[in-house]
């Protein structure tokens, strides 16, 4: 009954989305404005129903109900409960249900909490949100039904891909989807504003918190995914330029650009058309990413099921929504009045530079991701990997970071070049000193890109603190703190990346129990190999100790795990974190003469990559609270008074 109830909730939610769209269309275009009164409650009910359907699917997984197809193909009764729970979205159908759930809940939130937007635009936005949701309901119900039964039910399920059996599965997909799909709100806002021709500063102020919230979640989701891949895959890398990673990076780049242009629109009423365009692009990139991942065009742990029918379905949705939004844009943008002008040397221009560079990186990543698909159409099999992306994205990202340091030091509307340069003097000197030091100490031993990365990271790190100089720190507004912390986070993250690629020490050996291995300033003692067993796996575990510079020896246990259902082996790297880096040890196979392959990395400051990412997200949260707190307080007081 649970599965049927879930399916019914989904159908009902789909019907409500249709109703919502119809109400808005009739209400706005057919001038039956009395119909608009019902839109908000319909949107909220739709969100509640999707949430209910999602909870019911979780329940089916927790109960290991083997009469449900999805549970059979992706779960197993012996699995620990956390992976039964998180396994709900570790498959195609479940993750698409998560997608529509986030979309439905985001629609509810817009219906409930959005007060700043003009009523007409608000309604048009909810109509657009319903229209997008509708397509995904159809997709879910007709080609990816998560509640389908299987008769007769098998005795047990096939299990979840062991690579996914990790606490990361409980955190990474939901946060990523909150961001990824949360961007649909910005898309709907843009469509709504185009329909009602109300693109102005007030519109931007209304849209900004939604963009910020989605961007924060997307940032956290990417950071979590990167760290998960880093420790789970055992290759010692934290970003592989896998098409699936690019699929999450591209919406992030667009959302980051949007975040900055929406501030220009909100503060200075400039960049109207461009901001609307970016809002459309950001969610379009989310949909393109979904298509790439779910169509089976790519092979990766994220491509759950290869099914061309689903691919064509998503492609059709893409064409309708992206094509439709751009057609609307082309049709209506002429009616949007020109925004406020600004001088060439001004904060506005710096933010345009930011947007331009982000868009260029986005375009280059998109080209690199799609290129293999293009050549395959001509019968050429090509793969585009890290060498391409590092070479093109690296230098532009460095330029972007320099602009990022200069931007906050430039005044709105009009500034003088000499003054801006003067404010950049101290960070510039710091960068030059760093350059001299790095060149003197490490020239020839590290690549040019990591070298520049270190220099820019330190210079920009100092520069990003500059907006706080000579200010009363207690009186500095929260959103300024947010910006400073986020920008500093970018520098910290870049520093981690540069340090990792410049200074990582790697050692690959075959060792016998009883051997001692020396690498960097670490001494590892390989004691023995022990078989151990977990809930649904067995493993060979190396008992080792690691000590640094003759210090205290600490036990570490790299493992090679074997899962029976489905039969798979995974490596569980042993990580030891120090403030200035991480020791990463992987146990490989046994050789014919009784030795064991062991791979060791010492990665100086590698943790800064994710620390910086968390700072970026924290900056977003502070900016969100800083901007919105006053509105929330006023609302709360008004409610208390009433």
């Amino acid at each position: 009954m649970i599965a049927e109830a879930g399916l019914a909730a989904l159908w009902l939610a789909g019907a409500l989305a249709l109703l919502q769209l119809a109400l808005v269309t009739l209400g706005l275009a057919g001038s039956k404005s009395e119909l608009l009164g019902a839109v908000r409650s319909v949107a909220v009910s739709q969100g509640v129903l999707t949430g209910l359907a999602f909870l019911l699917l979780i329940l089916l997984f927790l109960r290991s109900d083997m009469s449900v197809m999805l549970v059979v193909t992706n779960s197993h009764s012996m699995k620990p409960w956390l992976y039964k729970f998180a396994g709900t979205w570790g498959n195609h159908e479940g993750s698409m249900l998560l997608w529509v759930t986030v979309m439905g809940l985001a629609g509810s939130a817009v219906a409930l909490f959005e007060r700043a937007l003009k009523r007409e635009t608000h309604m048009a936005t909810l109509g657009a949100q319903a229209a997008i949701s509708l397509g995904f309901y159809v997709f879910l119900l007709f080609s990816s039904n998560p509640f389908a039964r299987i008769d007769p039910p098998p005795p047990d399920g096939q299990g979840l891909n062991p690579l996914l059996q990790d606490p990361g599965l409980a955190f990474h997909p939901p946060t990523l989807y909150l961001g990824y799909v949360g961007l649909s709100v910005a898309f709907s806002f843009a469509v709504g504003a185009l329909l009602t021709r109300q693109v102005d500063a007030a519109f931007a102020r209304a849209m900004r918190p939604w963009v910020l919230a989605a961007w924060v979640m997307l940032t956290l989701g990417i950071v979590a995914g990167s760290y998960w891949a880093y420790y789970e895959l055992g290759w010692g890398g934290w970003w592989f330029w896998d098409p699936v990673e690019n699929a999450s990076l591209m919406p992030w780049l667009a959302a980051t650009a949007l975040l900055h242009s929406v501030t220009v629109l909100a503060t200075r009423d400039a960049l109207r058309a461009w901001t609307v365009m970016l809002a459309v692009i950001a969610f379009s990139m989310s949909m393109v990413g979904t298509f790439l991942v779910r169509s089976g065009i790519l092979t990766s742990v994220h491509a759950f099921a290869v099914d061309p029918e689903r691919g064509s379905f998503i492609l059709a949705l893409l064409a309708i929504y992206i094509g439709g939004a751009f057609a609307l844009f082309g049709w209506r943008i002429g009616a949007v009045r020109e925004g406020a002008p600004f001088e060439l040397v001004s904060r506005e221009t710096m933010l345009v530079v930011n947007n331009l560079l982000l868009s260029v990186i986005l375009g280059l990543v998109l080209i690199g991701t799609l290129y293999p698909l293009l050549t395959e159409a001509f019968g050429l099999k090509v793969s585009v990997g890290a060498p391409y992306f590092d070479r093109i994205a690296g230098p532009i990202a460095l330029l972007l970071l320099i602009a990022m340091a200069a931007g906050p030091l430039t005044r709105w509307r009009r500034d003088r070049f000499g003054l801006v340069a003067g404010r950049m003097l101290v960070p510039g000197i710091v960068a030059l000193v760093t350059l001299a030091l790095v060149v003197a100490l490490a020239w020839g031993r590290i690549g040019i890109l990591p070298l520049l990365g270190l220099v820019v990271a330190i210079g920009v790190g100092v520069g990003s603190l500059a907006p706080l100089w000579k200010r009363n720190l207690r009186r500095t507004p929260l959103f300024t703190w947010g910006m400073v912390i986020a920008h500093l986070g970018c520098a910290v993250s870049l520093g981690g990346m540069a340090s990792d690629s410049a200074f990582t020490v790697e050692k690959l050996v075959a060792a016998r129990p009883g051997d001692t291995i020396e690498t960097a300033d670490w001494t590892l003692y390989f004691d023995k190999i022990m078989p151990i067993a977990g809930d649904n796996w067995t493993a060979l575990q190396a008992d080792m100790t690691a000590s640094r510079g003759g210090g205290k020896a600490i036990a570490i246990h790299p493992q090679s795990r074997f899962f029976a259902s489905p039969p798979t082996t995974t490596t569980e790297a042993a990580l030891m974190t120090r403030w200035n880096g991480q020791l990463y040890v992987v146990l490989g196979q046994e050789t014919d003469d009784g030795r064991w392959q062991i791979r060791i990395w010492w990665k100086p400051f590698v943790t800064f990559i994710w620390l910086g990412g968390i700072m970026i997200a924290l900056g977003g949260v502070l900016a969100l609270i800083g901007r919105e707190r006053r509105g929330w307080l006023l609302k709360w007081r008004a409610r208390a008074a009433a």
């Binding site: 793969s383 690959l508 489905p566 039969p567």
Partner: protein, 148 residues
């Protein structure tokens, strides 16, 4: 400066950035895109040493040998028509074994041995490197050919 001039300048800068980015992408793709070769392509077309490519095929039965250092392996990759010697230093994927499909990333050395920097084997029973789709391995002859 008039608003129109300023817009024009911005548009020109954006256009220049776009063209520059396009050129950059084209040149980077020409240099860095790794082409996929089957052993027979290597034999017929030839690949210059040092050029990064992906080599795909089946690991020939009986060809897998471990070096004395315990971390280097030597093996032959075949597509049924031609065979190429290859070597790899590192921890090979668990499902990498004789008779299994493999896609190796790396380059040829001067002697014609393919030095792999990364091996992509089947992750699990369901996963197959894309380039090997539609190929079938013959258990007895240790040969791989395209499916009819």
């Amino acid at each position: 400066m008039k608003a129109k001039h300023q817009r024009l300048i911005l548009a020109l800068v954006a256009l220049a950035a776009l063209i520059g980015a396009g050129l950059l992408a084209a040149s980077a793709l020409r240099d860095e895109a790794a082409y996929f070769y089957a052993p027979n392509d290597v034999k017929t077309k030839g690949v210059e040493p040092g050029k990064a490519i992906r080599l795909g095929g089946m690991v020939v039965g009986g060809s897998l040998k471990r070096g004395a250092d315990g971390v280097t392996i030597h093996f032959d990759v075949s597509d049924g028509k031609a065979t190429v010697p290859a070597q790899f230093s590192g921890i090979a994927p668990d499902l990498f074994r004789e008779g299994s499909g493999v896609v190796a990333e790396g380059a040829f050395d001067a002697k014609g041995t393919f030095v792999a920097t990364n091996l992509l084997a089947k992750h699990d029973e369901r996963y197959m490197p894309r380039e090997l789709e539609g190929m079938q391995y013959n258990e007895t002859t240790h040969e791989m050919r395209a499916q009819p």
